[in-house]
């Protein structure tokens, strides 16, 4: 298209037009590379990840430019738009960093939850239940964690969890339910209660419903000996959701 227009308007030779087109392509490629270079420098990730991201985005730009050229845009214009759609390179690098951190936080939260439950199991066996409670089989914690369960996301709203859902996935799932207190039931007696604050799971509680239950939070593991705690001590189904 550029070729035809230039030839008609300025009566230049095909060779000259070809040279001009090559020059424009070279400028466009430099522009893409400059943008990718800024992104690479701003990405706070491993070298292999930085390389992978750059290759993926380079391919995206090429595809987008191709589509814009097909729709009749000039090359410089198309490259400009493709880059503009991706936005500021430093800002995009920041988003990648944030996404990476969120994935990491989730893993930490999962590990934290699993550790908490592990410690909880030990604590249940050693310190929480008084002699009169000793008829409770603490191994049920371990057995039931791998069993099917359900999650309550609001009054009368339950999500079923498949049998092979592990605790890490459950915590993943809880993390998706914003601003809600979530209760997962394993069997008749035991359930796990988690609530969110600022996008992270703030508290993870193992409840031996309805009497004694353990509370595990960032502040550490401690006994919760309030069987009729107005917020948590009632039956699991009666726990109110957190409001915004």
């Amino acid at each position: 298209m550029i070729h035809d227009e230039l030839q008609q308007k300025h009566a230049v030779t095909s060779q000259e037009v070809l040279e001009l087109e090559n020059e424009l392509s070279s400028i466009a490629e430099s522009r893409i590379n400059a943008w990718l270079s800024i992104l690479t420098q701003a990405l706070r990730l491993r070298e292999s990840e930085r390389r992978s991201i750059c290759e993926e985005l380079h391919e995206h730009i090429e595809e987008r430019v191709h589509d814009l050229l097909v729709s009749g845009r000039g090359e410089a214009d198309a490259v400009g738009q493709a880059i503009a759609e991706l936005g500021d390179a430093a800002e995009l690098a920041h988003r990648y960093g944030k996404a990476n951190q969120q994935a990491k936080n989730r893993r930490i939260t999962m590990n934290f939850g699993i550790l908490g439950i592990g410690v909880g199991i030990m604590a249940v066996g050693t310190m929480v239940f008084s002699p009169q409670d000793s008829n409770i089989d603490t191994s049920v914690f371990q057995e039931n964690l791998a069993a099917s369960a359900s999650i309550e996301v609001a009054d009368n709203q339950r999500l079923s969890i498949q049998e092979d859902t592990d605790l890490a996935e459950l915590l993943d799932m809880i993390d998706q339910v914003t601003e809600q207190k979530v209760i997962a039931h394993w069997g008749a007696k035991l359930c796990l209660l988690a609530s969110k604050s600022d996008g992270l799971i703030a508290d993870l509680k193992l409840i031996e419903d309805p009497a004694n239950f353990l509370v595990h939070s960032r502040r550490g593991l401690h006994e919760h000996l309030a069987p009729h705690d107005p917020q948590f001590g009632q039956s699991a189904a009666a726990v109110p959701p957190i409001h915004g």
């Binding site: 290759e55 391919e59 991706l86 996404a99 915004g244």
Partner: protein, 128 residues
């Protein structure tokens, strides 16, 4: 707290959109954008600045897995050096997450429904 506008809603549900389109077939970044646009009849436009960091996050969470394909420039087939295209597909964990997100979304929608005014005929109640 300000009311969420369309952009906020899209951002908060962008992972659901991505998991949904990948449930049908493996896709690469640019094709995900096109699929979301096509399936929403142009009403939703996932921007690359939102999509690519999200893909990075979902892959890190092992909800997606990826593989590379070398593609050659159609307009310049003589070029020996090809570009690398990253394809994504859902993992079994990603499929379960999609089911869970869909169920949570429906539950939320059902609760929200109770607060919405009934639909009115014509322009009644719209004002002006």
């Amino acid at each position: 707290m300000p009311a969420p506008d369309g952009r906020d809603l899209l951002r908060s549900s962008s992972d659901l959109l991505v998991l949904s389109v990948l449930a049908d077939e493996p896709l690469y970044g640019y094709s995900i954008i096109k699929q979301v646009g096509a399936r929403s009849e142009g009403l939703m436009r996932l921007t690359p600045g939102v999509l690519y960091p999200l893909l990075h996050q979902l892959e890190k969470q092992k909800l997606l897995t990826s593989s590379w394909e070398t593609v050659h420039d159609k307009s310049n087939p003589e070029t020996t050096k090809g570009r690398k295209r990253k394809w994504y597909r859902l993992t079994p964990k990603g499929k379960r997450r999609l089911q869970q997100r869909a169920a949570a979304h429906r539950a939320y929608q059902a609760v929200l429904e109770a607060f919405l005014p009934e639909t009115t005929q014509g322009n009644e109640g719209v004002g002006g």
